[in-house]
Subunit: 211 residues, 2 copies
DNA sequence: ACCTGAACACCGTTCAAGT
DNA sequence: ACCTGAACACCGTTCAAGT
């Protein structure tokens, strides 16, 4: 006798809103997360969302909280402290690259430091093992941290805007490269982000640990 | 006899549109650059702007072109190649920090590489002077470039979202710092971006040049 | 306690119409 | 060649009203 009623929807919850929001961001990027699209996705009125999460700002805050909480633990590998720091940095990069959109949102909402705390602890441990202490160790930790985040931001951006106008190719010919055709060849091609990252971190850590 | 006419406005030009757009961005940030606010600023109808610059996308493109073209030259200082590379990086950072909003737009529109070309040439020169050539030199150039851009992006973000919740202070106590109170003290305070940058670049360049 | 539609003040963009 | 207002399809948010 109830078969002609409108379909019974599961009652809207804060968690359901957050999950739908996350899936929108993961699938179509942050700009796809509008209150109206979210409501459509959930099959509710736009205004219902407001009752559960306040407004768009606090929705984003909550989403970011969730992402930070869910970020996995990372374990260093390798024998020397330098190798272990490099492995931490690479693992961190891999972890953060898993959900680039969400990470971007974390960053944009100023929670990057907080997200980095577990990694920071591990880094401190390795710096101590390498014989650095106090302000020196702290600065080394921060240098690695900035490098990881910085490279991620640069990469994310390259991926989002791959078309470089006029583009490097026509700008690096053998003539402009100080008679170094091999260099011209490498610089005229888009960089391999992973390679640049690994090389940078190795050099950075080497420079930090022996001086 | 023409004194009661509406005030004669200088005819709208593409340049006038670009200048007004730039000033809006510099003063109030990229989100303040809406077509309607721009029209209000110029005292014209919104739609007039479209005649001169096409649409919002091409307006941003043109704005970014202009910024890139106006970026000044940078000269290396110092005696050793390492010192000269560090000085290039620091000058670059200072230059880019002068108009953070515009630089952010350049980056978001994928023109960062292009903007970096003059600096890239100078860096290549120094890498050659330091004895690096070919792929090794190219990778070193890219590492420095990524480091400069990366640090800038991280800093810009810290400045935009200075409120860190819960914040590092309560997270770094002597107890959690592996018995290193000096380190805990440094890590519980917000980093001095300039210091971190200089230390990072020095270590990176040292690591790149001697291995 | 939860959900709704109407309404408001914003967007970018198109288009037909003016000079 | 240049400028205009009206109109369209989008935003986030508020609010009074429903159950």
């Amino acid at each position: 006798m109830t078969s002609t009623e409108p379909p019974v929807r599961a009652p809207l919850t804060r968690e359901a809103v957050l999950s739908a929001a996350a899936s929108l961001v993961i699938q179509h990027g942050p700009q796809a997360l509008t209150m109206r699209k979210l409501a459509a996705e959930l099959g509710t009125a736009v205004t219902s969302i407001y009752w559960h999460v306040g407004n768009r700002e606090s929705l984003l805050d909550a989403l970011v909280e969730r992402t930070v909480r869910e970020l996995g633990e990372i374990r260093p590998r390798g024998r020397t402290p330098a190798a272990r720091v490099v492995s931490l940095a690479r693992a961190l990069r891999r972890e953060l690259r898993a959900h680039p959109h969400l990470i971007a949102m974390v960053h944009e909402r100023g929670l990057t430091e907080r997200m980095f705390l577990p990694a920071q602890r591990a880094l401190v441990h390795e710096m101590h093992a390498a014989g650095l202490r106090g302000a020196r160790a702290a600065e080394a930790v921060r240098a690695v941290q900035f490098a990881v985040i910085g490279h991620l931001l640069v990469e994310r951006n390259r991926e989002r805007a791959p078309v470089q106008r006029p583009g490097e190719p026509e700008l690096w010919t053998a003539a402009t490269a100080g008679d170094d055709p091999a260099l011209a060849r490498v610089l005229s091609r888009p960089p391999d982000a992973e390679r640049v990252f690994t090389a940078s971190i190795r050099a950075l850590v080497a420079g930090l640990l022996d001086s």
